[in-house]
Amino acid sequence: MTSTTTKDLNVAVIVKLEPDFSEGNVSYNADGTLNRAETKSILGPHSAIASNAAFYAKVKYGARVAVGTMGPPIAESALQQAQLLCDADELHLYSDRLFAGADTLATAEVLKAGVSKVEGDGKVDIVFSGHRASDGETGQTGPQTAWKLGYTFLGHVIDYNVDLQSRFVRAKRLISLQGFYDILEEVEAPLPVFISIDPSYKAFFNTVSQRLAFEKYQKEARSRAENYKQFLKVLNTQQLGIDPKLVGLPGSPTIVYKVERIPKAKASRKSEVIDGANRDQLTRVAANMYEVLGGMVIK
């Protein structure tokens, strides 16, 4: 049963079912590429962090939480795993053969339509997404969905708080300027916002009431996830009200033209091979190391 009561805060999480890269589950081909057929799938690790961020909104602000994913029927397992993490009140699977082969822009079109189908006429205050998927790794789908929704996009968020009275969110962002330094930025924006959660996000609960809410919702999440199908809605192109020309392969500006093995680069250094069991040779290597480090060897 899904609740339709209006909450002070409505949040949604966008998640993805991804290959499980952990030991025992991931399988590589002899050439080092991923063996997709043999690799299990799970809720992606960044999706899990985004789900945690949504759970924080539930514990701290009593938010209503919806989780959505685009994928084939099997992707509902990602929704179940996310529900266990964030005690979702509503689960959406956007599933249609027409969605297959979508690039990030065509995926964003589906997710935008999906968020607008969240109960309460899609009046979602905050949408959370993970930093990037561990298989596709583009990191583009979140911000593109935000832009299509017309939500203010805040990326690399490591902490956030909401002022329910003023309807503002305050967020800390960690920005890495490659070649320079990292910047910790604190920003403020009116709701609604789209937050892409940084991998270093950690939720903190610091009051007794929050601790109690945490335990209560965690317990609720376990029982809900056991019966996740009661919370699940499956929506296709027609139900989402999307123009089929904008989704899947027809709606994707980009195509994958070819996939090839990266050719072995020309040797950039000529290495000397040392036998790792030979003490004399290693003596010389150790001396070499100190030499390049500029250490002075005094004998």
């Binding site: 890269f21 990191g139 203010t152 490659q178 930025e185 040392i274």
Partner: protein, 393 residues
């Protein structure tokens, strides 16, 4: 004949006028590509740098030296620091402005840029996404090779199965997460009448540290075009309250040596990571990892997990680029992405049981053996020869 789509626009990142390295790298590659393009097609399309900022005119001049034919510069106090919303609006306006393009080219037909580059970093990754969502065109991320070609394409949707020629198509090469596969992404117009649609610019984000900037040439001249951005209150609704520089707990830059480990730790991960850490401690090195390790593929204790198997330590195109005096790669096979992050190191030692690993061609000394066996012996030698510091009186 003029085209609706012209030029290569490069979105520049900088901090108060100091260009982030990837900006100059993108300009370098843009210069090389467009020189080839103009020769091949007997045309005169430009490399155009796009700069948003405040008091950054000097940077604009520098960008010409680094290969830009023209710079479009939007100067406003509100544009000093990067904010996705306002930046996306302004960059999209610039990309659609025929008036601006007319300042450096014949633009009677101009609609949008032909190509567009962004840096694949914290800022550019998101900015490229929202700009291309606004411009409704295709975007490929994390590119490390680019080619412009005339291609014959036969595609179920794009061409309705017919073979068709797509001229001046940007082939965008993207290494996958394993580092072993290259995927070529194309951004193509839909010519199938049922879904007909034009997709320009062809855009991508470019991995930092891959392409070389050109030698700056102070005799190069080009137009600096001032653009007065149009925005209102709603575009400024994100307020920056505080902004400070932070030092990462992982500090590669102030260490003379880096010891990195990869999937080769697999036989006894916990023990092996401790060994690597001991080796690092002995030579006062910072510890790095390869990208797969950050995905936590092996079960280890929580302490080891949270100390070492973290994204902050990743060296390579998905992480940091380092150039210490000494780099030791332990159990790292040498995927291209990792190499890109450490190849500038002074002296490189690899410890690996497999002589066929690509790392063998990227190091100065290749120690053949399992890390379990090699590190204790190497530590023994390092301790014997530990240098004493001479104190000058």
């Amino acid at each position: 004949m003029m085209s609706k789509y012209q030029h290569l626009y490069v979105v520049i990142e900088h901090e108060d006028g100091m260009p982030v390295p990837v900006s100059l790298e993108m300009l370098g590659e843009a210069r090389r590509l467009m020189d080839g393009f103009n020769k091949k097609y007997s045309s005169d399309e430009k490399v155009v740098a796009v700069v948003l900022g405040h008091n950054a005119r000097k940077l604009c001049e520098e960008l010409i030296f680094y290969g830009a034919d023209a710079v479009i510069y939007a100067d406003n106090p509100e544009l000093r620091y990067r904010r996705n919303l306002i930046d996306t609006k302004v960059i999209s306006q610039i990309a659609r402005s025929r008036e601006v393009a007319a300042k450096f080219s014949d633009t009677s037909e101009f609609v949008k840029p032909r190509y567009m580059f962004f840096g694949a970093d914290s800022i550019g990754r998101h900015l490229s996404s929202t700009v291309l969502a606004e411009l409704e065109s295709g975007l490929a991320s994390d590119i490390n090779k680019l080619v412009i070609e005339d291609l014959e394409i036969k595609h179920e949707h794009k061409t309705k199965g017919q073979a068709m020629k797509y001229e001046k198509t940007l082939e965008m090469y993207r290494p996958d997460f394993s580092g072993f596969l290259w995927t070529t992404i194309l951004c193509l117009d839909n010519r199938n009448p049922a879904i007909e649609r034009e997709y320009h610019p062809q855009a991508c984000s470019i991995i930092p540290g891959v392409f070389a900037p050109i030698e700056p040439d102070t005799s190069r001249r080009g137009a600096i075009v001032d653009y007065v951005p149009e925005f209102d209150e709603r575009d400024l609704k994100v307020r920056i309250l505080d902004r400070k520089i932070v030092k990462s707990a992982v500090d590669f830059d102030s260490h003379k040596a880096v010891v990195s480990f990869g999937k080769g730790i697999k036989d006894s991960p916990e023990q092996n990571i401790k060994q690597v850490a001991e080796l690092a401690k002995e030579i006062e090195a910072e510890v790095g990892i390869s990208l797969p390790i950050s995905k936590k593929p092996f079960p280890v204790s929580e302490g080891i997990n949270s100390t070492y198997m973290i994204p902050d330590r990743v060296i390579g195109t998905s992480g940091r680029k380092v150039a210490p005096l000494l780099y030791i790669a332990v159990g790292i096979s040498g995927a291209m992405q990792h190499i890109a992050g450490m190849k500038e190191s002074g002296f490189i030692v690899a410890i690996n049981p497999d002589e066929n690993s690509p790392i063998k061609d990227e190091c100065d000394i290749f120690i053949r053996g399992r890390m379990e066996d090699v590190i204790p012996l190497l530590l023994e030698q390092l301790r014997k020869q530990r240098p004493t510091i001479e104190v000058k009186k």
